[in-house]
């Protein structure tokens, strides 16, 4: 097998590898800025220099040439090489900065050059704390600069598009952003303008950076040049807490990280999953922080004399049971939702079963023409496939309207039918509408009973994407009834750990008075004497996987271990593969 010697250690390899990626995959490090594993390597930052050589071999006999001491003779490449775009070859000898003073010196001097016109405004820069330039300057950079001339000034606060703001002075012209628009999103909206020390990335004159994936350029920018218009100056990175989760704004289920501080989701960034979204996510998914933070329903609401007033949990549970008991079972309509998780739909389905109510129905939420074969889908809901696999009855909007007309009590989970114009407020005259919802909407305004439930940022629950991959969320935000320190699944940021209620940067106000749907259903069922109990998403998923063939072998442990599980969408012929 071909061998390569890196810093004195011999490694065997197969196939074609770029040296930088190979070194990284070994868990070792070479500094770099412009390289990105999903894009081409133009080698223009010159930071990943290493010393590379080859053992000298006699072409005819195939024997190694030896020096006087019997050591193999090495023929070094005449200059240092950028490791990002050089192929690993058999008999290659590589010295990185760890073993070679020349490489160390080259990397240090290169950083000094890169920093010549860099403003070094880290204390006010959004990137500080997660900035490759900052980190690598600490690790490999010079102690100071010998450059005493005034730095070149370039445009600042350039609004490139509706979501991205550029600070050209911070830019080191790695071209990651322009390559992203050329190779990944293929809109070709960015280019490097001008040259020499005056160059910076920009759009064509008079054009806006409207790319639906534009915010990915902010993520891959190795400095603070590209910033998100929304998140700029909102928080320091080290004050936030990062929790892995799933995008719930469309059917693709991009893997994301929720960045919270004091129980507010401040930004959403993509998390790598080679099977789903690679390193990317659409801009729309990042807007979901508004769903988690703003316009939330906190405490149950109940209509009295035509007006919604705040109610108590006990009251709302009693009202819920009274309303169901007071009606003919045939007049009760339970509507599940592709916007709710597998577990929530399952809990509703079980309650309906026990109460002897008609099957649970749902309708998909799609917008044709929205999908783009990349990460946007026609499906606007995260769990349409999950509802189908649970055996919920899918109705089109017309049939649904027909069923609504016949019903006198409608229980709606996390779906806003009046906002979606599936039925109008007048269709509800004389009917009792129970709405389990996360956010206020036109629909909840007309509901007679509104029960606040947790969002994907507050509960652990799973969602099945359009391709049949089941993935789960982890709670990132506390509710009034959950606690980071007691819930071992939740993580703690610095402020969560060390803040107290007496600090003026910590507030209880961001905790929503809501509970997971399954907890409410457990309470309601117990109050009406039914034997139904759900504890948490984890145990419910075990129940689901026992009961439903498509969910066979699915558990939170398996999902965590494999970054989601591909379900078989045709359960009769295949059992699910654990990948």
């Amino acid at each position: 097998m071909p061998q390569v010697i890196i810093d004195g250690q011999t490694y065997e390899f197969e196939g074609k590898h770029k040296l930088l990626q190979f070194i990284q995959d070994l868990g070792k490090e070479v500094p770099f800025f412009c390289y990105h594993p999903s894009m081409t390597a133009p080698a223009n930052c010159r930071q990943c220099m290493v010393k590379v050589g080859q053992f000298v071999k006699d072409r005819e006999s195939g024997e190694y040439e030896l020096d006087d001491n019997g050591e193999k003779v090495i023929r070094w490449f005449p200059k240092l090489q950028t490791s990002c775009n050089i192929d690993v070859a058999d008999d290659m000898i590589v010295h990185t900065q760890e073993t070679d003073a020349l490489v160390r010196r080259a990397q240090k001097d290169n950083l000094e050059l890169i920093l010549i016109n860099h403003p070094l405004d880290c204390p006010i820069c959004d990137q500080a704390g997660e900035c490759p330039l900052q980190i690598q300057t600490y690790k490999y950079g010079p102690e100071g600069s010998r450059f005493e001339v005034k730095k070149v000034h370039k445009p600042k606060r350039v609004v490139l598009g509706p979501r991205v703001v550029l600070d050209a002075e911070r830019c080191i012209n790695c071209t990651r952003c322009t390559r992203f628009t050329e190779e990944i999103s293929k809109t070709n909206q960015l280019t490097i303008t001008s040259r020499g020390d005056k160059n910076y990335p920009t759009t064509a004159p008079g054009r806006e950076f409207t790319d639906p994936y534009s915010l990915n350029t902010v993520d891959i920018c190795p400095v603070g040049a590209l910033t998100s218009a929304d998140f700029r100056f909102r928080a320091r990175v080290w004050e936030m807490n990062q929790t892995p989760s799933i995008d719930i704004t469309n059917g693709k289920g991009c893997n994301i990280d929720l960045w919270t501080r004091d129980n507010l989701v401040l930004r959403i960034t993509p998390r790598y999953n080679g099977e789903v979204n690679d390193h990317w996510m659409p801009d729309e998914g990042r807007e979901a922080y508004k769903i988690f933070n703003e316009n939330r329903i906190s405490r149950p609401l109940q209509k009295l004399d035509g007006e919604q007033i705040l109610s108590s949990w006990n009251n709302s549970i009693a009202t819920f049971n009274e309303q169901i008991a007071a009606r003919d079972k045939k007049e009760i309509l339970f509507i599940g939702s592709p916007h709710a998780s597998v577990e929530e739909n399952y809990a509703l389905q079980q309650l309906a079963n026990l109460m002897g109510i008609n099957e649970v129905i749902f309708t998909s939420h799609t917008e044709s023409g929205k999908g783009d074969d990349f990460l946007l889908t026609d499906d606007l809901a995260p769990n349409t496939t999950g509802c189908r696999l649970l055996g919920l009855k899918e109705l089109d909007q017309k049939d649904l309207g027909f069923r609504v007309k016949k019903a006198s009590l409608i229980v709606l989970v996390n779906d806003h039918f009046i906002d979606r114009e599936i039925f109008s407020a007048s269709d509800l005259d004389g009917k009792y509408l129970v709405s389990f919802a996360t956010n206020h909407s036109k629909t909840t305004k007309f509901a007679d009973l509104v029960i606040p439930i947790t969002t994907a940022a507050e509960h652990a629950a799973s969602y099945v994407n359009v391709d049949g991959r089941i993935q789960r969320t982890i709670p990132a935000k506390e509710t009034k009834y959950s606690n980071r320190r007691l819930n071992l699944e939740m993580s703690e940021g610095r402020l969560d750990r060390y803040g107290t209620n007496f600090d003026n940067w910590v507030t209880e106000d961001n905790k929503i008075d809501c509970i997971p749907l399954w907890n409410f259903i457990t309470e309601a069922a117990n109050a009406s004497g039914l034997d139904l109990s759900f504890e948490d998403g984890r145990s419910m998923m075990n129940e689901i996987s026992d009961k439903f063939k498509p969910f066979e072998n699915v558990s939170y442990e398996a999902m965590d271990a494999h970054a989601g599980i591909q379900l078989s969408l045709n359960p009769k012929t295949e059992s699910p593969k654990v990948k």
Partner: protein
């Protein structure tokens, strides 16, 4: 202002495109055609080039803004690039520049009111042996400048007569 290529230009562009396996390499020569036609490649012309070649506007802008020889704004009919790099500087490059500034009543980087002349101060044009010198609109060199030579040049340019290419002899080294 909207710009359009003539049919001859489009024929020429087709010919250029057929020289390369892809369209992208045609960007440079087509920008030259545009600059010859319109005298500059301002953002509107860049858009025209992008539309003609079916390339992204950003790419054409990036290429056009990289090269100083493409004029990104309207210039005078004659662009005079006066070299003030080392050799010309020593032989009186700045003197020539300032003489032109006074004569044309514009500063370096400006265009005269009649739209005839743009004066630029530039770095080495590779004619150090015939310093001081200037270049007319990315093309002809006028070497060994003197005040009289400049007077004559400006007069003939005003009449619309461009000087021809000047043949320069290299002084032979004396081997003794």
């Amino acid at each position: 202002m909207t710009y359009e290529f003539t049919t001859e230009d489009l024929k020429e562009i087709e010919k250029i495109k057929s020289r390369y396996p892809e369209v992208k390499p045609a960007t440079l020569p087509v920008l030259w055609i545009a600059q010859k036609r319109f005298g500059h490649v301002d953002p509107d012309v860049q858009k025209l080039v992008a539309a003609t070649l079916e390339l992204p506007e950003a790419h054409v802008h990036g290429v056009a803004s990289f090269y100083t020889q493409y004029y990104k704004e309207k210039k005078g009919k004659y662009v005079l690039d006066v070299c003030t790099c080392l050799s010309c500087q020593l032989c009186g490059g700045y003197d020539m520049l300032h003489y032109l500034e006074e004569k044309l009543e514009i500063k370096a980087g400006e265009t005269s009111d009649d739209g005839l002349f743009t004066l630029n101060q530039v770095e080495c044009l590779g004619a150090c042996g015939y310093a001081p010198m200037l270049q007319i609109t990315n093309d002809k060199y006028v070497n060994n400048l003197t005040h009289e030579k400049i007077d004559k040049l400006v007069d003939s340019l005003k009449k619309g007569e461009e000087p021809g290419y000047e043949k320069m002899e290299m002084p032979l080294r004396k081997n003794n």
